[in-house]
């Protein structure tokens, strides 16, 4: 397994190098000029040209790419064209809100969806199954921002229980941190819960039709024991896969949720940077995303071993 991990980590470097080149090339080709954004509405073409020159944006592609890679190899992701802050600092500021939202969303999603999916499978074609699957379809169909506004309307504006927006760092206290994450996690978690519940139901249903489940039932094992120790464990591979993909998606940007709840996460950082053509941030963030995706996929693959002893690397 060790050699497998080493091979995969080696592949990560290659993937990131390809991503870096492709992203840099695409940004070079994409219309848009940060110098024009900096200069503002009241600027002349001459002003913009001077700013381009001062930012080094008038240099040839290969020179700019070479400079960026050289700095990257020295641990420098560059600085924002606009606010002149290091990209690493800007990303660092966003890591905590993003991870907090990701973790809370996953907790909400997993705690609700896996039991519901398993119950739906155990009671397949019953009213309960239909109700759960109906909820799943609803959760999947309601746009996140609609659900977010409904939650805000009820819990913030009517009941005054929870804040409308914002993020409080954990250093300001667990409770304010938690209060600010409840609504965003519920809004975002519902979509993932719906998705995971459907996958769980399908996967468990498949396992429940296997011979070893019938054997367990014939041996007189309790239904809950069969579900937890035999069905769910064997149905785990697709569920873990979909959860892993969800982690990647959440980290790379729950932009709508972050926007509606004004959470300064990585998703909004990326979109803002794209809108104003802040190339160093876009390049840095996408590089981090690609590394994150590769590492999550690796961890998912490795986790299969614990759920399915037939899998070997």
């Amino acid at each position: 397994m060790l050699s497998y991990i080493v091979r995969r980590l080696g592949a990560t470097v290659v993937v990131m190098a390809v991503v870096a080149f492709v992203v840099f090339s695409l940004l070079y080709l994409t219309p848009g000029d940060p110098a024009a954004v900096i200069a503002g509405d009241v600027a002349t073409s001459e002003d913009i040209a001077r700013i381009r020159q001062s930012l080094g944006l008038d240099q040839p592609f290969l020179v700019r790419f070479g400079n960026w890679v050289w700095a990257l190899l020295h641990g420098d992701m560059g600085t924002s064209i606009f606010n002149s802050l290091p990209v690493s600092k800007l990303i660092g500021q966003r890591v905590e809100p993003t991870l907090s939202l990701t973790i809370c969303t996953l907790i909400v999603a997993i705690l609700t969806s896996v039991p519901l999916g398993a119950i739906a499978a155990a009671r397949a074609e019953s009213k309960l199954d239909h109700a759960i699957m109906g909820f799943s379809v609803l959760g999947f169909s309601i746009p996140v921002f609609v659900l977010a506004y409904l939650l805000i309307l009820l819990f913030s504006l009517q009941l005054h229980w929870l804040p409308v927006q914002g993020y409080r760092p954990i250093s300001e206290g667990i409770w304010p941190w938690f209060l600010h994450l409840i609504l965003p996690s519920l809004a975002l978690g519902t979509v993932y819960a719906a998705l995971i519940a459907r996958i769980t139901r399908a996967s468990v249903l498949d396992v429940l039709s296997q011979d070893y489940i019938r054997t367990a039932q014939a041996k007189g094992l309790k239904e809950s024991d069969i579900m937890i120790h035999h069905a769910l464990k064997n149905a785990a591979v697709p569920i873990i896969t979909i959860i892993g993909i969800g982690i990647g998606l959440l980290i790379s940007g729950a932009v709508v949720t972050e926007t509606v709840f004004a959470i300064p996460g990585i998703g909004r950082l990326t979109v803002d940077a794209i809108l104003r053509r802040d190339y160093p941030i876009i390049q840095g963030v996408i590089l981090i995303f690609s590394a994150t995706y590769v590492m999550i996929n690796l961890m998912i693959d490795l986790s299969y071993v614990f759920f399915d002893p037939r899998i070997r690397y």
Partner: protein, 533 residues
């Protein structure tokens, strides 16, 4: 039965306990906020340098951390701000300024003449009026740390207007070590001598900017009026929040999580107007002006008759409704100078106020020799003021039988594409829309969109020597009456040549909690004098 009762009681108590817990935990935070003003800004502060950019959000940041030598008051008078006294020589070629006592930068160093000179010189490399001042300047020199002298080559009547310019670029005073930075390179150090200090370590771009009261700041004794007068800070801390979603911003204000929302879209006025804890007001006395800008380098709008044909059918009332949503927040303004200010006038304005005559316009188009060339209107779907004007103009041009195509992208794409001088089939453009705030259109000196200096002019690059000559005549005007006459002449020529078409004057209202008082009525958000109870 008892068990059932007990269970019901527990079930009833749980939500109450949760609710109590939630509210009680939020109380200390609210208590802490008493001296913190939470202000939802109009945009995200991306750039700290008010000289390299003309972005209004950066200008507003400038007013927080910097001070100015002079400032304009609500009567459009230029009043001393950092300057204690000044004299003008009889030949009007020498200005001697003396700084007020006790002016200190945030780093504890005193404000010196050298800082002022370096700041003004940097500003005058970027700002249009500053450049005009620089053309007339022979030298700036420091007599001592508090006194400095401006020597002119020839009398220039707008020295104080330039130094007290209220909007972008504002000649803010910075420490010499910062002001020595190239005028095209962003400064990153927000040290100024203004009433607030920026806490840079707490700055989260895209989310919030933190300022604290500058306790060493010595306000003037006069009452505040626009950016002039006493800048007395009445809160300890300001949190500038950037909330990109308007509905969330409205909810945050309504729920007491924010105290003041600088600019709200008109469609949310009814939502907040119902909330008795919130006041919705128009505190911008000048508002902003929308405009249609042509590309003068390529057909068909390099032809004056084509521009005139469009102007003949523009109905400003439609643009008012398109931009501001209702007549309460806007009005037609057929002047190249902000309506309601001293130089606004009606010379030539009948082109916009007379009968909207499509037949006459079509005849003029025919006369112009228009051969069906494609007209590309570039727009920004993420900027409602731009997009609404673009949609209206597109419809107008279609009604005139012109071959028009609306190409909407985002603002970042628009401001890049408008730099292109190519024809439309090579990525160029024919028309774009934008808006400028009232202070940027007060007179021919600051209204950069009126320039007719060709390649050096604003995007669209109109060339009109007559307009330039009339603008120069404005600068040479000996007094206010002469300046007004010169401005009228500029406008008369502008309505003939049409460097752009003014579309509507509008105001984006502000909204604040009723526990705030002392908000200054001004064409920009100023946070001193605001008290939170």
């Amino acid at each position: 039965m008892i068990n059932k009762l007990r269970r019901s009681a527990i079930l009833a108590v749980i939500p109450a306990a949760v609710a109590l817990g939630l509210t009680s935990f939020s109380l200390p935070a609210q208590a802490q906020q008493q001296k913190t003003l939470r202000f939802i800004a109009q945009a995200d502060l991306k750039i700290l340098d008010p000289i390299t950019t003309t972005a209004y959000i950066t200008r507003n940041h400038g007013y927080m951390v910097y001070d100015t030598l002079f400032a304009m008051n609500s009567k459009f008078e230029i009043k001393p701000q950092m300057v204690d006294k000044f004299t003008v020589s009889p030949d009007k070629k020498t200005y001697t300024f003396t700084l007020r006592d006790g002016l200190m930068f945030h780093d504890g160093t005193p404000v010196r003449s050298a800082d002022v000179i370096a700041s003004v010189e940097r500003w005058s490399k970027r700002d249009g009026l500053g450049q005009k001042l620089a053309e007339s300047t022979d030298s700036w020199s420091a007599t001592n740390d508090k006194t400095f002298v401006l020597k002119l080559k020839k009398p220039f009547a707008f020295v104080l207007d330039a130094l007290g310019k209220p909007s972008s670029n504002v000649p803010f005073i910075m420490p010499e070590r910062i002001a020595k930075t190239d005028a095209f390179t962003n400064i990153t150090d927000p040290t100024g001598s203004g009433p607030f200090k920026m806490v840079k370590d707490e700055w989260v771009p895209g989310s919030k900017v933190i300022y604290v009261k500058n306790k060493e700041y010595m306000p003037r004794k006069e009452a505040p009026s626009w950016a002039s007068g006493g800048k007395v800070v009445k809160v300890d801390r300001v949190e500038w929040l950037y909330i990109p979603d308007a509905a969330t911003a409205a909810n945050a204000l309504g729920n007491g999580e924010a105290d003041w929302w600088e600019q709200m879209p008109p469609d949310l006025i009814p939502v907040l107007a119902k909330n008795t804890s919130v006041k919705v007001e128009n505190i911008d006395p000048l508002g902003s002006m929308g405009l249609i800008r042509f590309n003068f380098l390529n057909p068909p709008f390099n032809n004056e008759k084509m521009r005139r044909a469009v102007a003949m059918v523009v109905n400003q009332q439609d643009y008012v409704l398109g931009i501001a949503g209702s007549a309460d927040n806007g009005k037609p303004c057929a002047s190249y100078f902000t309506c309601g200010t001293p130089l606004s006038n009606n010379v030539g304005s009948s082109l916009l106020t007379g009968k909207r005559d499509f037949e006459a316009a079509k005849a003029l188009i025919k006369e112009s020799g228009y051969k069906g060339e494609k007209i590309v209107i570039i727009s920004a779907a993420d900027q409602p003021i731009v997009q609404s004007q673009s949609l209206l103009t597109t419809e107008l041009l279609r009604k005139l039988g012109l071959n028009v195509e609306l190409q909407a992208g985002d603002w970042g794409s628009l401001i890049t594409r408008r730099t292109s001088k190519e024809p439309v089939d090579k990525g160029g453009w024919s028309i774009f829309h934008t808006w400028l705030v009232g202070p940027d259109l007060l007179n021919p000196g600051v209204n950069f969109a009126l320039r007719g200096n060709g390649e050096k002019a604003w995007f669209g690059w109109p060339t009109d020597q007559k307009l330039e000559t009339l603008r120069d005549a404005y600068f040479d005007a000996p007094n206010a009456a002469g300046a007004k006459k010169a401005a009228e002449a500029v406008q008369g020529r502008a309505f003939e040549f049409l460097p752009y078409i003014p579309t509507a004057q509008f105001i984006l209202p502000t909204a604040y909690r009723t526990n705030l008082s002392g908000i200054i009525v001004a064409p920009m958000a100023l946070l001193w004098n605001v008290e939170k109870k």
